[in-house]
Amino acid sequence: MIAHAFFFYFFSIMAIFSALMVIASRNTVNSVFFLILDFISVGCLFIMVGAEFIGMILLIVYVGAVAVLFLFVVMMLNVAQQKQSWFIGKKATHIPSGLLVGLLIFLELLVVVGGWQYKDNLMSSSTLIINEQISNTHQLGNVLYTEYFLYFQLSGIILLLAMIGAIILTFRKRDNVKTQSYLKQISRDRSSSVILEEVKFNKGVKVDD
């Protein structure tokens, strides 16, 4: 039990500390690394409460893929050293919008935390039967693919639409692009690519045609 408490406090302090460091660190790349540390600590907390599936998916999806893309962008755009220029220059337009978003999220959190006593009612009014015998992966699958089938599909379609939208936004059609046709390359044979020609003295051969 002591070990459990120790690990809980370790991971939660780690999560809060790294979340703070995400916004406090001056180097953008370091921020992303703190974000990764935050994801990992939260994943460990999920595993500690017994939601091992969600914890692992958090690690795979967010740390394994999303954060890599974050890092990619941050490294490629060369915005590593911000030197807080947003706060120094006249164009400090990010602060009001950031504050607005922060305020909204804070209000949402208040609603969730304030409604904590609803949780019991919510649990009792749920029609789901929780079977303690089977693992939570099976449990999730049983619910997700039967009762919430429609929502599952809908969220999938929303993600697909977002993906298509992102591709369309960034897609530029370029002319004069040299591409290789793999089929053409493979189907080439000797007769269509090599010719043997007698070279006449002082006349040469015409190669371009």
């Binding site: 790349v29 690394f33 990764i36 091992e52 599936f53 692992m56 998916i57 690690l59 795979i60 740390v63 394994g64 893929a65 890599v68 893309l69 890092l71 990619f72 490294m75 490629m76 079977n131 015998q133 089977i134 693992s135 939570n136 992966t137 099976h138 699958g141 049983n142």
Partner: protein
């Protein structure tokens, strides 16, 4: 007192797992170089110890005594952290690998997800090393490797889904026991091939060793590393290769199960079968390193996204339809 004994027991168990892995990594490096040499009609390392077996230990000794050079413009914390992360991640994954039915350190419910998560975290060691070096070749290598590993992870994930459809559990032991009658390599042979090629790309092995392509990038993300830190990258890389071989043998080759459960085969202890299968897969890795030329980067990306991903997705649909039609879907909760 009891907790102390418990803690010591756990430490003993962990050491009992880690030390054999580190020793076998050393041996596997020797095997790799030896196979590589033999394919090219060379002898390979054969001087230090019997058959050159101690070559890797001699190399490791050399690395330990070499100076660790940290570039002046490098980000020192991340620079030192990168090889540590690579090696730690390569080793912690072994906690869930079952060598036999009762020889496993942690038998967790989501074993295969854990393996997948840890192998997908492996990209960070490389990215960190490349970025923290603050030099152009490591950076290019790191960027390449990040894109490559993320791409091939996707198809590995879908291949795992194929296997899981046939098993109905994420537990590694259940995955092996489900292959008692038929190894998955037979019904899912195309997936085994795709898995093997993706594993090559995921571990940055030739023909997909673009992150450290020595003809273009010096040594890729490892360019600025020296001494023990380079050796740690190296050990981590080979431990990852072994891990991929172990994953392949658990998912497709029936783990510790003998090919046929008859007399001369089933007296060989179960961990031996597992080791044999891992070695066989590693032998394939080594031969491929020697015989196949390096891919071009755009071809690598094309192979990952345009061929492997659709192919394994279609195979998921095929497997699911087959199992559903013949009513062979594993029952939930069993």
């Amino acid at each position: 007192m009891n907790t102390m004994i418990f803690i010591f027991e756990e430490i003993y168990k962990i050491l009992f797992l880690l030390i054999p892995i580190l020793v076998s990594v050393a041996m596997i490096v020797w095997l790799d170089r030896r196979v590589w040499g033999l394919v090219q009609k060379r002898k390979g390392p054969n001087v230090v110890g019997p058959f050159g077996l101690l070559q890797t230990l001699a190399d490791a000794l050399k690395y330990i005594f070499k100076e660790i050079v940290i570039p002046a413009s490098a980000n020192k914390v991340l620079f030192i952290l990168a090889p540590i992360i690579t090696m730690t991640l390569a080793l912690i994954a072994w906690a869930v690998i079952p060598m036999s039915a009762d020889f496993v350190l942690a038998d967790i419910n989501v074993g295969i997800l854990y393996l997948f998560a840890v192998s997908s975290l492996g990209v960070y060691g490389i990215l960190l090393g490349g970025w923290a070096s603050n030099s152009k070749y490591p950076f290019l290598g790191a960027i390449r490797s990040a894109a490559q590993m993320v791409s091939y992870e996707v198809s590995i994930g879908i291949i795992i889904i194929n296997v899981l459809l046939c098993v109905g559990s994420l537990n590694l032991k259940d995955i092996v026991m489900a292959q008692k009658d038929l190894w998955f390599v037979i019904p899912l042979f195309p997936m085994f091939v795709v898995f093997f090629i993706s594993a090559l790309a995921e571990t940055n092995r030739p023909p997909f060793d673009l992150p450290e392509a020595e003809s273009e990038l010096v040594a890729g993300y490892q360019t600025e590393y020296s001494g023990m830190m380079y050796a740690m990258f190296w050990l981590g890389e080979y431990a990852n290769i072994l891990l991929m071989c172990a994953m392949g043998s658990i998912l497709f080759l029936g783990g510790w199960l003998p090919p046929i459960d008859i007399f001369p085969m089933n007296i060989i202890p179960a961990p031996m079968w597992m080791i044999l299968k891992i070695l066989m897969l590693f032998f394939l890795f080594a031969v491929i390193k020697a015989v196949v030329p390096r891919y071009r980067y755009d071809q690598l990306m094309r192979l990952g996204w345009k061929i492997f991903l659709p192919f394994s997705l279609i195979y998921v649909i095929l497997t699911a339809s087959f199992l559903y039609y013949f009513d062979k879907l594993p029952k939930a909760g069993v």
